[in-house]
Symmetry: C2
């Protein structure tokens, strides 16, 4: 079924059919009806490839992520998907790149197939990334810049530094001074900014350097678990753990439960991201909320703009604000029971969470 068949059946030319179907030009009412009727009768579906070839656009955008699993990434996809569909765009996704080379390969394969790209590559060195990104394709970077070199690309970032500061101030406000930090990957821009927030507040509070404790982590639950186990062996033991993301906080929670350390009575735990599962772990996790779906949504918005005006200079910035979500994994260290490992029936010092 091609446009010719429809034209023949409606007794008009292909141009007219095209005009009717695209609705951009004026067509006589009656002709319009005939064409529509013919198209419907023939179950006509325009050939996308032909259309793309002709108009030089595909109505498709590509999403390149470090990995498509995980709560964070799937929320991003979801946000973009919803926004894109509303504007008639399709999304081509690719994730699970074990290394940079593979990612660049994918980037290349998407070239020509998409009108624009949303790229999230927080672990790739900036210079390498920017030189390998197709130069003339609308593109927005997700969390892949820390305000420094950014190749003049459009980008969306999370207020990582502000969020980390907020959490640290909150913990300090509760009375914690021994706060351990579980770091993210060293090359990861988000991770670096969060770490900066941790260090800044620790310093500003005048907390003794010996009470600062930074553990390696890679944003996975498993690394959070391992880090927490190490923390338990440190003397003097910290009273709080701030993990650079929720997944690691969840891993830490698991390690603490395994070791019989009560949370929050004996150890407060805080995360970052507010992934969907955060409110369902035990205890519900106090964390920094990032509206992840909104991140995706706004990324699409920015990209849409870039596609519409390819001439406009790139370099737009959009920063997603964060908010502290107080649940039940943190409390004052004072109520900690010095020797016994058993907390009271219910630990005190709870604040009401925002959830039902």
């Amino acid at each position: 079924m091609t446009i010719h068949d429809v034209a023949a059946r409606a007794g008009v030319s292909v141009a007219t059919v095209s005009r009717v179907l695209n609705g951009k030009e004026v067509v006589r009412e009656e002709t319009l009806k005939q064409v529509l009727a013919a198209a419907k009768a023939l179950h006509y579906v325009p050939n996308v490839a032909a259309r793309s070839l002709s108009i030089q656009r595909s109505q498709t955008i590509g999403i390149v992520l470090p990995d498509v699993h995980g709560e964070f990434f799937s929320e991003v996809i979801r946000g973009i998907d919803v926004a894109a569909r509303r504007e008639g765009y399709h999304i081509l996704v690719s994730g699970s790149h074990s290394d940079v080379g593979e990612m660049l390969e994918v980037l290349d394969a998407m070239r020509g197939r998409v009108d624009g790209l949303v790229v999230m590559a927080p672990d790739v060195a900036h210079d390498l990334l920017h030189e390998s990104l197709p130069p003339n394709l609308p593109l927005v970077l997700l969390n892949s810049t820390d305000g420094g070199v950014d190749g003049g690309r459009d980008a969306i970032t999370i207020d990582n530094h502000g969020g980390a500061q907020a959490m640290m101030r909150y913990l300090a406000g509760l009375g914690h001074t021994g706060i351990a930090f579980i770091k993210g990957p060293a090359q990861n821009a988000d991770a670096r900014e969060r770490l900066r927030g941790y260090r800044g507040v620790m310093r500003k509070l005048g907390i003794r350097a010996t009470r600062r404790l930074e553990l390696a982590g890679d944003f996975t639950e498993e690394s959070g678990r391992a880090a927490a186990q190490k923390i338990l062996n440190v003397a003097p033991r910290p009273t709080a753990i701030f993990a650079a993301n929720d997944s690691m906080a969840v891993g830490a929670l698991a390690a603490l439960a395994e070791a019989g350390v009560a949370v929050p009575a004996e150890m407060s735990v805080a995360g970052f991201d507010d992934i969907p599962i955060a409110r369902y772990v035990t205890p519900p996790l106090t964390t920094i909320r990032v509206d992840i779906a909104d991140l995706g949504r706004r990324a699409f918005g920015l990209l849409r703009g870039a596609i519409a005006q390819p001439a406009a200079p790139a370099g737009r910035r959009d920063c997603i604000a964060t908010t502290l979500v107080e649940r039940k994994s943190c409390c004052s260290p004072e109520i900690r029971m010095p020797t016994s490992r058993r907390p009271d029936r219910k630990p005190r010092g709870r604040k009401k969470g925002e959830e039902s």
Copy 2:
């Protein structure tokens, strides 16, 4: 940069360039080198739309899911993504369909854009689904059939019934007789099969009908939480909760923790799916493992076959086996402490889990 430019630079015709680039026909060694050199020098990237138009294939497959977030769905996408990339296919995903109509719209929009479709629509009535699926497009159904009417489509299913049976036998083996079940959506084929497994074993064990307890649920954490709260008010109180999926089990765990009910000492909890987070909740969740990524992988394999031989009759089946993963959320009801709500330091009756 078109193929013509490359041809001109290499001093050959476009046909030769095409042949070199596709590697299907013989070309003289020297010519080949020239073409390759020209292509590289010009940074030539073939135009995908033109290619698709010409060969009538897009090297792209579509994935239509009820929702792209959630651990389960993102694992499916991941599995397909990895398998597809290996074979040079791209994936177009769409999820977040609030209703059936929207899903059909998406199905329509993908038509012509993809060579095949992986559709997961467990909640859509089969007759409606089958009549609205494009008839001549290779397609595999994910979890959308319960062995009954399936429209002669290729399909992959999970061994839901077997898995549920296994879990029920395990719980019964531990000594539980009061086992509550949190159901999934009524129209959902997976959910129905799991329920059937629950009922079958309950009946076979000769457990009094009064001790059977089925709660409504919709596969979300929140519904699991609500169901668990209801269960706590039932007298006599069940000693175990089997949720039709992990998300609901996680919700139940949260409700129990909130109510101060110890798991597994006072209440055993079991789930289904083994989503990544299952091992990190407190206590680690005993569940039925479904290799979700493998599900996606095999779906792609089946689809690949269907694309390669469009003439072959559809109706292929592939069933994913399940395995019981014993963690720490279930134990014998005997060690339950009748009045006190506080368990011992560590609940006994633990089995070693499979995880590190």
